[in-house]
């Protein structure tokens, strides 16, 4: 089955991973800007990273018939440096017209601090000013519940936000309902230990019906599995779900959400 991985960090993955993903049915992916594992020291470091996301990765992906899209921001882990964050936010518009840029992301919170909230709101303002879709990172583990509610509070306070153009990622059992009930899209991340398994993701699809719901691997430089979305597909099939429902979650929903971005010029496989 053709599928789209809506959240994967291919700058951290090998070319062999691109080949494997292609053979597993991945036809497109979107790569949100992410923390490198260390704090970058200057706005030029981010400028180089954004070139990698908008030039190098699309070319690597194309070798394997995969369409690569991306989202730009300074990650919440680096938001404690507010002055650098503001320099990066001011520089991002240089890249918004690149042909694979879908919007602003993954913005959000990490430890739910004041500086993170400040930088998050400035990113949201940037997105609104430039008519961009938004991809949201929600915090990990014990911070997820508080952080997700803070993010939803901030988004719902802003009357300019079109909730249908916001994807709130890394939802789990205790956050998915509020995200969907408030009118946002939700993403489930298949991480081996710290987030969601394919089995629990299938449970959440069964409980919600799969509307406005996406599933991703968030494959990166840490413990993660870039082929996690096919694992989810197999789990859904094992339970007897229809190909139509599976395709909706792993293909049609990403296409519907991404299509709101003017640069999503997707060419389905004929």
């Amino acid at each position: 089955m053709d599928y789209i991985d809506p959240h994967i960090h291919m700058v951290s993955r090998t070319t062999d991973d691109y080949a494997t993903l292609s053979r597993m049915g991945c036809v497109a992916m979107s790569e949100p800007a992410f923390w490198a594992g260390y704090d970058r020291g200057s706005v030029d470091g981010f400028r180089d990273y954004f070139r990698q996301l908008t030039e190098t990765e699309p070319a690597r992906a194309a070798q394997f018939g995969i369409q690569h899209f991306t989202w730009l921001c300074i990650n919440a882990k680096e938001a404690e440096n507010v002055s650098l964050s503001r320099e990066v936010i001011a520089m991002i518009p240089e890249f918004l017209d690149r042909p694979n840029v879908l919007g602003i992301g993954e913005i959000g919170l990490n430890k739910n601090t004041k500086n993170e909230a400040t930088v998050f709101l400035e990113h949201v303002d940037l997105a609104v000013q430039h008519d961009q879709s938004i991809l949201i990172h929600t915090p990990h583990l014990e911070d997820k519940f508080q952080g997700t509610k803070m993010i939803l509070d901030m988004l719902c306070d802003d009357q300019r936000i079109d909730r249908g153009r916001v994807l709130v990622d890394h939802v789990e059992e205790h956050t998915i309902s509020e995200v969907l009930d408030r009118g946002f899209w939700a993403g489930m991340t298949l991480y081996p230990v710290t987030k969601c398994t394919p089995e629990r993701a299938a449970d959440m699809v069964e409980r919600t019906g799969g509307e406005r719901l996406l599933v991703n691997s968030a494959g990166d430089w840490g413990p993660s599995k870039p082929t996690a979305v096919p694992d989810f597909i197999f789990e859904m099939r094992r339970r007897g779900h229809s190909e139509a429902l599976i395709r909706k979650v792993v293909y049609e929903n990403p296409v519907a959400f991404f299509s709101q971005s003017k640069h999503f010029q997707f060419a389905p496989r004929s």
Binding site: K144, F145, D153, D203, R207, R239
Partner: protein, 96 residues
């Protein structure tokens, strides 16, 4: 069952049968890990923070063994910090 709920016709027997060995293995892992803790002195040897974590695990096991639904969501809530409704005032960030 919620309004959006949708799943193929699978019987409780089928779900249990396909899950039994995995559940058995996971329960054995829990039992063996708690035994390992005991062999290292048990709960009495744990520092303050880890003692709280151990107590959380006991509460989690109670949730797993309870008859009420939504066990996964209740486990997530147990392992979450409580939502601070006054976070805006604390941070000096107002709502529009």
């Amino acid at each position: 069952m919620t309004a959006g709920e949708s799943h193929p016709q699978r019987t409780a027997d089928a779900v249990l049968e396909e899950s039994f060995l995995q559940l058995r293995a996971k329960l054995l892992e829990i039992g063996a890990t708690l035994d390992r803790l005991d062999r290292c002195g048990g709960a009495g040897e744990l520092s303050g923070a880890n003692s709280q974590k151990r107590a959380l695990l006991d509460q989690a096991l109670e949730i797993v063994g309870s008859e009420q639904p939504d066990r996964a969501e209740r486990l997530q809530q147990l392992f979450s910090r409580e939502y601070q409704q006054d976070w805006r005032q604390k941070f000096g960030i107002g709502s529009d």
